[in-house]
Structures are given as structure tokens and as C-alpha cells.
């Protein structure tokens, strides 16, 4: 072997060893902050959690965040009730009428909408809903979250419904089923497990959304009496407490973060389990 060849060979051999090690190092570096965040949220959060955290509202002395927990759940449920049916309908339409110009334009705008910063959704809902109703409200917050959900649900439904084999559609049509029955009872049903998990992921995503709520649901130190009142959420409350210099409030924020992260992760794990079950079954 000539010396040049040998050195080239050594270089390749070295690179073949170094590259996987470097990629492993990148993985460690990437997961470091994840573990750091989890460790802090778990330890600081667990220390600050107490029974009153779950039973008393923010505005009571020595208080908890019962109203914020309730508000987060209330807003997510309302937003899902608006966003999921609309998203599934739109996604099914996109899949079943994939080649019309309207469908293509809508698919494109769903992608773009998914990339629009969520704080802008807050600005829009503020301009359209809050200004008109002359107050911050749970309804406005839920509408903002629904807009954030919409493109996620639509695109998941679209992708999964398009993956349903055409032979199933043709079989249904050949049996005399009209298109709407084919879409609802054959295509949608076949794609349902995946769509369910996609919806859960969308719910998980908006459970942590804060920016669109800052000036739609706003905040409240007590339980909101109706959907038309300003409403506290864990997310906004965490942010409010983060920005204060008060240690007690920081402790409360950690506890709220622990509850919120647990909620989001449970939803994520559920969604993934659905997919896994589908794959194995």
C-alpha cells in the first residue's frame, strides 16, 4: 500500500469510529435539558404541592390553583368541542375530494396556519371576539385554542384518510353505498384509531398553549362564574408567577408546572399507546 492510500484508509477508519460517537454525544447533549427540566419540575413541584393546591383558588390566602386547573380543563374541553369536529370534517373533505382546487388551497392554508405563531391567533381572537363582547372570557380563550387545534386535526385526518386503500372505497360504492356513507362509515372508521390519537396529540398541544390565552381568557383570581367571565388557566398563572420576584409564587408556579406537564405527558402517552395498539393489533 502506498503511504497516501494508507493515510486515506486510516482517515476513513477514524471517521467511521468518530462519527457514531459524535452523534451519540449529540443525543446526550440534546436530552440533557429534557432531564434538567423534568428534574426541576418534579422536585420543586412536588415540594410545593399540597391539598389546598387542588381545592382553593388563587385569590384565597395561602392558596392553591383549583380555579386554574379547572380553567385549563374547561378551555381545552370547549376548544376540542369546537376544533375537533370541524377539523375532522375538513380533513375528510380534503381526503375525499383531494384533487379539487379548493382542497389543494385549503390543504396549503392548513399547513401555513399550523406555522403561524399562536400569539397572533390571540391577537385575532382579541380583535374579533373580545373587543366585540367588551370583555375577556373563557369562550374567547377556547376559540383561540380551537383555531390552534384546527390545522393539526385537519392535516392528521387528511393524511390518515388518504392512506385508506381505495379498494375499500370502491367496495362500498359497488355495494351501492352513497359517497357520504362511504366516507363516514368506511373511510373514517378505518382511519379512526389514528385520527383519535392525532386528536389526543392536538389536545395535548393546546393544553400547554399560553400565548393565545394572555388576552383572550386573560386571568382570574377566582373561579369564573360563567363562560363569559375572564378565566384563569395553569399556563397563564405559571407565566404570571414566573415574572414576579416572589419565592412563594415561584413555588406555586413549579407545582402548577408539575400538574401541567403531567397532564400533557399523560395525553401524549395515551396517544402513542393508541398508535402502538393499532400497529400490533
Amino acid at each position: 500500500m502506498t503511504p497516501e492510500l494508507e493515510s486515506a484508509y486510516r482517515g476513513r477508519k477514524l471517521a467511521a469510529r468518530v462519527a457514531p460517537a459524535a452523534s451519540g454525544a449529540a443525543v446526550v447533549l440534546a436530552l440533557l435539558p429534557l432531564f434538567a427540566v423534568f428534574a426541576y419540575v418534579a422536585s420543586h413541584g412536588a415540594r410545593a404541592l399540597s391539598l389546598t393546591f387542588f381545592t382553593e383558588p388563587v385569590g384565597v390566602r395561602g392558596a392553591g390553583m383549583a380555579n386554574a386547573i379547572f380553567g385549563t380543563i374547561e378551555l381545552v374541553v370547549l376548544a376540542s368541542a369546537m376544533g375537533i369536529p370541524l377539523g375532522i370534517a375538513a380533513g375528510l373533505y380534503l381526503a375525499e375530494y383531494a384533487s379539487t382546487p379548493l382542497a389543494r388551497a385549503v390543504r396549503f392554508s392548513a399547513d401555513v396556519l399550523a406555522g403561524v405563531p399562536s400569539i397572533l391567533v390571540g391577537v385575532v381572537v382579541y380583535a374579533v371576539v373580545v373587543v366585540r363582547m367588551k370583555q375577556f372570557s373563557a369562550l374567547a380563550g377556547a376559540a383561540a385554542l380551537a383555531v390552534v387545534m384546527l390545522p393539526l386535526v385537519t392535516r392528521t385526518t387528511d393524511e390518515l384518510a388518504r392512506a385508506v386503500p381505495d379498494s375499500l372505497r370502491e367496495a362500498a360504492l359497488a355495494l351501492g353505498a352513497p359517497r357520504w356513507r362511504t366516507a363516514l362509515f368506511v373511510v373514517l372508521r378505518t382511519a379512526a384509531p389514528g385520527i383519535r390519537s392525532g386528536c389526543l396529540l392536538a389536545v395535548a398541544r393546546v393544553s400547554g398553549e399560553t400565548a393565545p390565552l394572555l388576552f383572550t381568557a386573560y386571568n382570574n383570581r377566582f373561579f369564573n362564574e360563567s363562560l363569559l367571565d375572564p378565566t384563569s388557566t395553569l399556563q397563564v398563572q405559571i407565566f404570571t408567577y414566573t415574572m414576579t420576584p416572589n419565592d412563594d409564587w415561584h413555588a406555586q408556579a413549579w407545582a402548577a408546572a408539575l400538574v401541567l406537564v403531567t397532564l400533557v405527558i399523560v395525553l401524549n402517552v395515551l396517544a402513542r399507546r393508541l398508535v402502538a395498539e393499532e400497529e400490533s393489533g
Binding site: 457514531p20 440534546a30 375525499e96 406555522g115 400547554g208 399556563q235
Partner: protein, 334 residues
């Protein structure tokens, strides 16, 4: 003629199908189109209503809005240059930090990592993306910023230079960029992973069969093939960085200044909206914040469109059976 008729049965199928459902089908189609149309309207509505709220400010400040950096709501002086600067600087630093690590993770997951680690690492990276941004903000403000103040920034200050100068409070451009980098990482890593996976297996196998090491195959065959898609992933990450609000608002320092120092407090387009919009007093203040939002909208939409085009094109390069499979109306010749 017969040949053609044979190859396109779904047309005739569709005709007969219209007969099946009649008015119910038309209703169903209309409902679907309505829902889909609503989605399109939302996008147009976002642009239109932000622009409408912003109009007084567009009229009042004109071009000086984007060329000056003085921002003083109490005197109704509005220039957004410092916010645009802050957004760009934090996003670029975040990208510079996140991209090498994210690509390392992506190639670990596709080519270089041991197979049994790939699945758990993949789920952990997705978990990183699932943590709400306000929680990152809390962690950054109470853990990362003090760490920067006590250890990292004094060390950097000893290095010196215009970048590492000035008062050291922890909160500032550097802290915001770091937390942004953490948040971008999973986006860039998972999109790049998908793009790398879409490279046809034959290319990898061919390279390996010719005696390439896995790294050589990656460097000489896989990566060039996936280059455009990876660039798209980076652009997508940039779009996320620009729009990210809560974590940045918690640690950026909230001052509308243009300073070369990374220790200095800054401001970004999204975080100024988050901080000032709820308390905005005058109509012009609201309008100016909405105009910042309009700028943000234009920037993120531009980047997202570019990124999606790139990612989609690079996926087209690979034969995907799902894409190749016939659609209704595309025909499935028997």
C-alpha cells in the same frame, strides 16, 4: 379508445356513484367544503384582522416603524426595529446552537446509532417537544438565568470581545437564545430524521455494498440526496424560533435596545406583544403592537411556505407507495 376507457374506470364509477346518494351526497359535500372553507377563511381572517387592527399605526408611523428603534408608548413613539433585530439575533444564535446537535440526533436515529437505542431516543426527543413553552420559560427564568449569571457569563466575559460585555444579569439575549435552541431541537431533529428516512434504501445499500462505511454512505450518498429536505427542516425550525413567545418573554430582558452584547437585555416581536398587549392603553399602542404582529405573520408565513416546499420536494425524490397508490379519480387499471 377502449384502452383508455379501461384505464380510467373511476370516472364512470364516480358518475354512477352520484346516482347512489343524490341530495344527501350533495349536502355531505357541502358540509365538508364548508368546514374546509372555514379553515381557509381563518387564515385570511388572521391576516385581515391583524392588518385592520394595525391600520392606525401603519398610517401614523409609515416607514419609520421598521427603520427606527425608539419604542415609547407613553409618548406614542413606535419603532419596531429593535424587536425585529432581537427576533433575528435570538433565532440565528438558537439555530447555530441547535442545528449541529439536531442533525447529530437525526443521523443517530437513522444511520449511526445502535438500533435498540433508536426507538427510546426517538420518544424522548418527542417528549422534549411536548413540554409546554411556558414551562421552559419558568425553568429558564429560575434555573438557567441564575446559572448563566453565576458561572457561564463570567467565564465568557473573560474571553472578552464585543459579544460578551456589559452588565451580567443572566436575563438577556444569550439566555433567550439558549432556551430557544432547546425548543427548536426536537423540531429540526424529527423533520430531518423523516427526510433522511425517505432516502431510498437502495442508495444506502449500494454505497455499503461498494465498501463505504456507514459514515461514508451518509456523507457521500444519503446526505446529498436529502440536502434540500434538511435545509427545509432548518427553515421550519427558524419559523418556530421566530414565533416562539412565552419562554422568550420570560428571559429576554424586555428592553427595546439594539446592543451587540449577548449579555444585554433585548426584546423580540412575539414577546413584546405578549408583554404589552394585555395592558396596552391607547388605541395607537394596540395598533402598533398589531403591526408588530403583522410583521411577524409575514416573516413566519414566508419561512413556512419555503420550508414546506423544500421538505415536500425532497420527499418526492423517494418512491413512496402511498403517493404512488391511486387516488379516487386517478384510476386503478385492472
Amino acid at each position: 379508445m377502449t384502452q383508455r376507457a379501461l384505464s380510467t374506470p373511476p370516472r364512470s364509477l364516480r358518475l354512477s356513484v352520484e346516482g347512489n346518494g343524490g341530495s344527501a351526497d350533495r349536502t355531505f359535500g357541502a358540509i365538508g367544503a364548508g368546514a374546509a372553507g372555514a379553515l381557509g377563511l381563518v387564515l385570511i381572517g388572521v391576516a385581515a384582522s391583524v392588518a385592520r387592527v394595525a391600520w392606525p399605526s401603519i398610517e401614523a408611523t409609515g416607514l419609520s416603524f421598521v427603520t427606527t428603534s425608539a419604542w415609547d408608548p407613553s409618548r406614542d413613539v413606535y419603532g419596531a426595529l429593535a424587536f425585529a433585530y432581537g427576533t433575528l439575533v435570538t433565532s440565528f444564535i438558537a439555530l447555530a446552537l441547535a442545528v449541529p446537535v439536531a442533525l447529530g440526533v437525526a443521523v443517530f436515529l437513522t444511520d449511526l446509532g445502535p438500533r435498540r437505542f433508536q426507538r427510546p431516543v426517538s420518544s424522548l426527543v418527542e417528549l422534549l417537544a411536548a413540554v409546554p413553552s411556558v414551562v421552559y420559560g419558568l425553568w429558564a427564568a429560575l434555573v438557567l438565568a441564575p446559572l448563566l449569571r453565576t458561572t457561564v457569563q463570567p467565564a465568557l466575559a473573560r474571553v472578552g470581545g464585543p459579544l460578551f460585555r456589559g452588565p451580567n444579569v443572566g436575563f438577556g439575549v444569550l439566555c433567550a437564545s439558549l432556551v430557544l435552541a432547546i425548543m427548536l431541537l426536537p423540531t429540526i431533529a424529527s423533520v430531518s430524521r423523516d427526510v433522511l428516512r425517505a432516502v431510498p434504501a437502495e442508495l444506502r445499500e449500494g454505497a455499503l455494498a461498494l465498501g463505504a462505511t456507514p459514515w461514508d454512505a451518509l456523507r457521500l450518498v444519503v446526505f446529498p440526496h436529502a440536502r434540500r429536505g434538511v435545509f427545509g427542516a432548518v427553515l421550519l425550525g427558524f419559523g418556530r424560533a421566530v414565533g416562539e413567545t412565552m419562554a422568550v418573554a420570560a428571559v429576554v430582558g424586555s428592553r427595546a435596545d439594539i446592543s451587540p452584547s449577548l449579555f444585554a437585555p433585548g426584546y423580540t416581536m412575539s414577546s413584546v406583544i405578549a408583554n404589552e398587549f394585555p395592558a396596552a392603553s391607547s388605541e395607537l399602542h394596540v395598533a402598533a403592537l398589531a403591526e408588530v404582529g403583522l410583521l411577524l405573520f409575514v416573516v413566519t408565513v414566508a419561512f413556512n411556505v419555503a420550508a414546506r416546499v423544500l421538505v415536500a420536494r425532497s420527499r418526492e425524490g423517494a418512491p413512496r407507495w402511498r403517493e404512488a397508490a391511486p387516488r379516487p379519480g386517478a384510476g386503478e387499471a385492472a
